[in-house]
Symmetry: C2
Subunit: 365 residues, 2 copies
């Protein structure tokens, strides 16, 4: 499925990591973002491209971020600050900074608190798009901690039995350290499919699959709609994970509400009490493993569990079973060898913007 949302090999332009990194950082600097913050933003985007989460990488997101700096929706030099805190908690005001910068900052606070009390939880308001949520969760893993990250915003999930959207795609990321195995790292929308993937499927010319969206009257589309039908609809009507009540859509819907609660009302962000579109907020947490059990014992248990999962006997038509994070690590290893595949249209955009902003980097080197 991951391949479904990546640029086909026959048209992809393979770009060197150092070139894409430098060009991306150059764009952020030109937007007026200070160097430290530009480094963070670039790292978050590049990590998504490296791991194959192209929906959340440079190619799919940088244009939108540039637009939001350009029209003033996003503040390049925010005065980020903690507005309320206890030993294990904080509410972080992003002052309309970009979420891929404010959220790693908030996770650093969560990690510092977890070192003191065992747990750190930070809610984030007044912040833009937070990018690939796995990035933030994985920050904790580097410190021997379990990390989790949610983001809520937009209005595209139709509640079970409903006929209009009331929630965002509200993803949940969760990552935990291992010893010799790759870290467990899960990151997925609580809708049946991520919103960005619908956009990318459109760009790549794929149709929508059964179970992804609701029909205009709210009934689940279990046939698979044509691209044009959905695009023309105007309002995005995505089904919760589970797609229908019979298959468990009330679970995806409720997990989406959980994410909304932890990000919105728990940060005091505007708009969550009213189910409007004008809302975005995040939540990050770090749990120090050593606070619970010795880290080496935890890692040994994790290795046993992950090995047990990937050694599951496969069902017909599959040659292996994977756990969350495995394919992403394999993709990163491959892309570090042969570069990041970009759609030619994205390379064109990059050449335009770097030329316009007078950034001396060439992606085609």
């Amino acid at each position: 499925m991951l391949k479904h949302f990546q640029v086909p090999d026959d048209i992809a332009v393979r770009v060197k990591i150092e070139n894409l990194t430098a060009a991306t950082k150059g764009v952020f600097l030109k937007m007026g973002v200070p160097e430290d913050d530009a480094n963070v933003a670039t790292d978050v985007l590049m990590k998504a491209d490296l791991r194959g989460a192209d929906t959340h990488g440079v190619s799919n997101m940088l244009r939108a971020y540039v637009a939001s700096y350009g029209d003033g929706r996003t503040n390049p030099t925010p005065n980020e600050k903690i507005v309320r805190e206890t030993a294990s908690t904080a509410v972080y005001d992003g002052d309309n900074g970009l979420g891929i910068i404010t959220t790693p900052h908030a996770m650093e606070i969560a990690i510092a608190k977890a070192k003191n009390t065992g747990v750190g939880m930070v809610t984030i308001k007044n912040s833009g798009h937070a990018g690939m949520m796995a990035y933030h969760a994985l920050m904790a893993v580097k410190e021997g901690m379990i990390g989790t990250a949610y983001t809520a915003g937009g209005n595209s999930m139709v509640p079970t039995w409903g006929a209009e959207p009331k929630l965002g795609t509200n993803p949940i990321a969760f990552a935990a350290p291992t010893g010799t195995e790759e870290p467990f790292s899960f990151d997925a929308a609580t809708t049946s499919i991520a919103g960005n993937k619908i956009g990318l499927a459109n760009r790549l010319g794929h149709g929508l699959q059964p179970g992804w969206v609701a029909n205009d009257d709210g009934s689940p589309d279990m046939e698979g709609a044509a691209v044009s039908d959905f695009s023309a609809g105007g309002v995005r009507m995505q089904l919760p994970m589970g797609s229908t009540r019979e298959l468990g859509s009330h679970k995806g819907y409720s997990l989406g509400v959980m994410v909304d609660i932890m990000c919105g009302p728990l940060s005091g962000a505007a708009g969550f009490g009213a189910a409007t579109k004008e809302r975005r907020a995040h939540f990050v947490a770090a749990y120090d493993v050593e606070a619970f059990v010795p880290l080496d014992e935890f890692k040994a248990d994790m290795d046993g569990m992950m090995k047990g999962l990937r050694e599951t006997k496969p069902a017909p038509g599959h040659d292996r079973v994977v756990y969350a994070g495995m394919i992403e690590v394999e993709t990163e290893a491959e892309r570090r060898e042969i570069g990041i595949p970009l759609h030619p249209e994205v390379v064109d955009w990059f050449e335009g913007i770097t030329s316009e902003l007078n950034i001396p980097f060439n992606l085609r080197d």
Copy 2:
């Protein structure tokens, strides 16, 4: 769907709450459980019956609990203790006590820690079945906190693309306080259906629905199997929430792994590194709302959100949209009026056991 797992009205015996409560407590006392613990256990079971979670109530679980006390698997007088702790965390050893008793005890610890630091998280090992997980999450709500509770155990979830079970049904409960609206209270397995509901569907003579189980070779059963096919299989092969990879089963599978990690490796419980059947462990957490935002503002935002959700325009064939916890509160109000519906077979069992144990209570009063 809830009705699907309840005793049909035409055969149900309506039992008075005080009679069922007294008889249930009497059974626990006869098992050698101290009075305080018997009160807790009875309250957890009765709350499930009151809320319509009949799978986790007296009728469906007490027999199993009695059997586990009888054969020594469960310890009626455990020496429960904290074996490791920090300001915000604890690992709780249940000494093989029943989970519906040890888990509320652990949640009390989590709540006390949350009052000090904003967050309390407790993992629980060496503990039996934890009952309706919403009970534990709702304990935090009474204190103006958000509560969450997971339990992992058994071996019935088949990983995506797999052909053998490697995880339990691993439910997630989450509850948050409100003002005038009913609390948001979610509690569901990360499989497409709870394990107990399959047993109950069998007892009530319903077949298995499409998307619930895997065929013998691991492929998802999207047709709906006959009861006897599944029962005869011996090994329970349940599909993760999402049912198929295309509909998002990797999400249910990964959330199930998340629950396993938080309950198992994070408590040091046995069996989790090896994906064996011999394992059970729990996780509870409380987040003090006041640590983040003023409780009254949070409740007002929650009321707005819950009202917005239940006022969603309904899809064809539905007369309303609900949020998690609404139907349970309505069921409790109804059952407090007219009593708890029990299957005649359950009443027979109760009469047998109360007579055998010399417990002077009559359910048919």
